[in-house]
């Protein structure tokens, strides 16, 4: 079991380097936090890993197999799934059916088994009460959990969560964190992109910080948030060091 390993990934859009030579690895059973200001390249990095984009250079290994440039559905079936920052449920389907798609196609289960699996996943992320509602008629926190459920139902061992707590209030964040810990304890590894520091600090085993597409820090949560470069990336220079005219 080697989990996920990214080796010097770069992604260029024309002249713009959205991701530059980022390397990191994710160990089994670990929660890796990923932070960085807006535009730091977190979502682009995720899209490269999951196969939506093909990185300009660099290699991605999933359980020691090179998955660079593979199609997303293949990567999904190999055990890695992502939730999107911009929620895209299958609107015309019920919540149950949304999750069922993951179980049928991602985990490649037969209909009867897929249904039991779907029920199990919905129970885990507390969606059972919404099962028969259309996915566009449920509140935002439930939609966030739906994204999570779809990824889980696909049988993934590695989950990439792109701002899965965006738009939640503090109370809902606490609930979401409990669910994430439950998921981790069931033997899955997670990469969590999050802006909410309290959430990412409380849950991550390690954190990496990105800025302008490059990795600027990596380490335990306390180390990273006290890192000079990270503080500078978020807040800029100290006021006293700026030359004020």
């Amino acid at each position: 079991m080697a989990g996920l390993k990214c080796d010097k990934i770069s992604m260029k859009f024309g002249a713009l380097s959205a991701v530059q030579m980022v390397s990191f690895s994710l160990n089994p059973g670990e929660i890796l936090g990923m932070i960085g200001p807006n535009g730091a390249g977190k979502t682009t990095l995720f899209n490269c890993i999951i196969g939506i984009l093909k990185p300009t250079s660099g290699k991605i290994y999933l359980n020691d197999k090179d998955i660079t440039g593979m199609k997303p559905h293949k990567i999904c079936r190999m055990g890695m799934a992502k939730t999107s920052q911009i929620m895209q449920p299958f609107m015309a389907m019920t919540v149950f059916e949304n999750v069922l798609v993951g179980a049928l196609h991602g985990a490649q289960l037969k209909m009867a088994k897929a249904r039991t699996e779907t029920e199990k996943v919905m129970e885990l992320v507390q969606l059972t009460e919404h099962a028969d509602k259309l996915s566009n008629s449920i509140p935002v926190p439930a939609r966030r959990r739906l994204e999570l459920a779809r990824a889980l139902a696909s049988g993934a061992n590695i989950l990439l969560l792109d701002e899965n707590m965006a738009g939640l209030n503090p109370h809902e964040i606490d609930e979401a964190l409990v669910i994430l810990k439950k998921i981790r304890d069931s033997g899955k590894s997670l990469i969590v992109v999050e802006h909410i520091m309290r959430a990412v600090m409380g849950i991550s085993d390690r954190i990496i910080a990105l800025n302008y597409g490059a990795k600027i820090a990596e380490g335990f949560p306390e180390e990273v948030v006290n890192n000079e470069a990270v503080i500078k990336a978020y807040l800029g220079e100290k006021l006293s060091s700026l030359k004020v005219a």
Partner: protein, 316 residues
């Protein structure tokens, strides 16, 4: 999910299909029998379009090409290779499906308007190929604009009724299967968001291709049956874009991506144009046009689709 409403609809569908089986025995009027046959024919054809475009949201603007290929395969197999009708019919479906496989791989990579244009262009290209092939290569194969006369069958309307009914039945059964299967959930997921479907593990290319080929196979069968029925085919007739337009309008009117949509849409439009056409010979096309416009304005998701949304119902 199989709801009770779905089971009731399936039961009704099976009962009606079984009932239709006895229609030629009861209906004395040849006109009425022919009219019923035409309705069933269009339900099946609109259904073919619905399988691909209705469920995936990929607007295919050249489905008539597979209808035409079916017609031509059947005509050529029967006249040039003296094949009997039923083996020839099967061959027509299979060859249409094979062409769909070859054409589908490159065109299904396109999205939106580009896919519509590519399929439309392919249909027009096939029409030109059948028109010009013989003159260009100095052979007698497609017989260009002279068309091909098929062997006169000597069969009555009831025979063709019994040819068309099972094919339409199979098309609609495919719909029911789509509604409640892994394949169907894949198609519906693609319609919503293709990337979302991919990251949930849906092999979008393979699923789209499967729908495209299924649709082409049935269209090939319909094309072959029609060729044998009217016994004379020309490229501009069998590849006529008007057939495509009819399939699209019928399905849109009934409701895209629903089981009942093509049935309701095709029956509504065929019966409407029949009843108006006989009474208002000069104005009926204007009237139908107006009715379609009003219908789409009131019910933008089609009759069945809008009913489902307005009444918050969930059925197929």
């Amino acid at each position: 999910m199989k709801s009770r409403a779905d089971r009731i609809i399936l039961l009704l569908f099976l009962l009606v299909s079984a009932g239709l089986f006895f229609v030629p025995g009861f209906v004395e009027s040849e006109y009425l029998l022919r009219l019923i046959t035409v309705v069933i024919f269009w339900v099946g054809i609109a259904g073919c379009w619905n399988i691909m475009s209705g469920y995936t949201g990929y607007i295919d603007f050249g489905p008539v090409v597979y209808f035409g290929i079916g017609s031509y395969v059947n005509a050529i197999a029967m006249t040039k290779y003296s094949l009997a009708f039923f083996p020839s019919l099967f061959l027509s479906g299979v060859l249409a499906a094979v062409v769909a496989l070859i054409i589908g791989i490159p065109t299904l990579r396109l999205k939106g308007a580009y896919f519509a244009i590519a399929t439309f262009a392919f249909a027009e290209a096939m029409k030109q190929i059948t028109l010009e092939f013989d003159r260009t290569f100095k052979v007698s194969f497609f017989q260009g604009s002279d068309g091909i006369t098929l062997p006169i069958s000597g069969h009555d309307n009831a025979f063709f009724f019994y040819c068309i009914l099972p094919v339409t039945f199979l098309v609609m059964l495919t719909h029911y299967f789509i509604e409640h299967s892994k394949f169907g959930y894949g198609l519906k997921a693609i319609k919503e968001t293709e990337i979302g479907a991919e990251i949930s593990g849906v092999n979008t290319t393979a699923i789209k291709l499967r729908a495209y080929i299924t649709s082409a196979f049935f269209l090939g069968l319909f094309g072959a049956i029609e060729a044998y029925w009217i016994t004379y085919i020309t490229p501009s007739e069998v590849f006529n874009v008007q057939k495509t337009v009819q399939m699209v309008i019928m399905t849109l009117l009934g409701g895209m991506g629903t089981f009942l949509g093509p049935i309701v849409g095709a029956a509504f439009l065929t019966l409407l144009s029949e009843s108006l056409g006989t009474r208002f010979v000069e104005y009926y096309l204007i009237m139908i046009g107006a009715i379609i416009i009003v219908a789409i304005l009131i019910m933008p998701s089609g009759i069945i689709g809008t009913l489902k949304i307005r009444k918050r119902l969930r059925f197929i």
